[in-house]
Symmetry: C2
Subunit: 200 residues, 2 copies
Amino acid sequence: MNKIITISREFGSGGRELGRRLAEELSIAYYDQEIVTELIERTGFAKEYVKQAEERIPLPLLPITTAHTFGIGSNIAIEQQLSIYNHESDIIKEMAEKSDCVIVGRCADYVLRDMDPFRIFVYADIDSKMKRCRERGDDAKDMSEKELKQKISSVDKKRSRYYQFYTDNNWGDRINYDLCINTSSKDIKVLAKKLADFIS
Amino acid sequence: MNKIITISREFGSGGRELGRRLAEELSIAYYDQEIVTELIERTGFAKEYVKQAEERIPLPLLPITTAHTFGIGSNIAIEQQLSIYNHESDIIKEMAEKSDCVIVGRCADYVLRDMDPFRIFVYADIDSKMKRCRERGDDAKDMSEKELKQKISSVDKKRSRYYQFYTDNNWGDRINYDLCINTSSKDIKVLAKKLADFIS
């Protein structure tokens, strides 16, 4: 069976960079935006629409199993959002069957649970996350301390809800992962090298 | 500054064994029962009394800072329990100042917070913990499934309360640790070797 590594991460923790560098260190495939690109090719959905769907859940606070039980899901928008999740899950499975790889986000730890992935959760303290966001640039550089804190909290809340909805498990709950890594004040490059040795 | 590694662990997770093997791999000192032995020598307290004090908190649900604020603590039993914690903390600090070491339990991650320890939390799923308890022998072998589950839960609740009382932080909350390791279905020997490479 292929060596599959899944990365879940808090916003600003450097988890995406850690995943990319880890894949480089191990010389294996890395999948993140590639999943979206493949999805767009297959379905014709607009990129922005997919991005939005990846952050939202079709029915607030109802896990997918409940939604199915009550037959909720006839609305076209809901169907499309579920369809995006299902397509992404299929793509993730195909990618994992092809070769060893690192997959970031998208409930991959749950989607690939039958393939015994090594599941990593990446986190950091709020100061480190804010610092990383500022260094990374994009829209963080124009935000006040308060705004940036709120943004970090809001993204993580969305990730948590999304994960809970599709997996019925708690995002960030250690029992769902093999290793939880605190990146506060850590050099991601060094961490990726150490992690590659740990996993291989 | 010395390399200090602290281990907090769920009951039955193999955290103590992991700590001991990690110290062996790194050829550094290992402190666990040694802290109790040193405490007994210094204070003359009976071993059983110390063991009990390590599992109990003097005042249920009040963090130590609150207890101090309200001047609670005139009762001799309470004073002695606080005294045991304080003596243990002094011993832990002395040990950490002496040389590189691994220290198991006793809020060492908090006690040594000014020495920048590498803080590990060890956990596992309930089935793995029950299996480890049975293999380890002692009183687990005569317990029913239900009794053993209750025992595991009860020990962890005590550890959680103890940690919360003395540190005002949540035991097992990932933000208090640098690495959280799931030992479910893992070989502790192999894990210790990998961990030694990761840390050094």
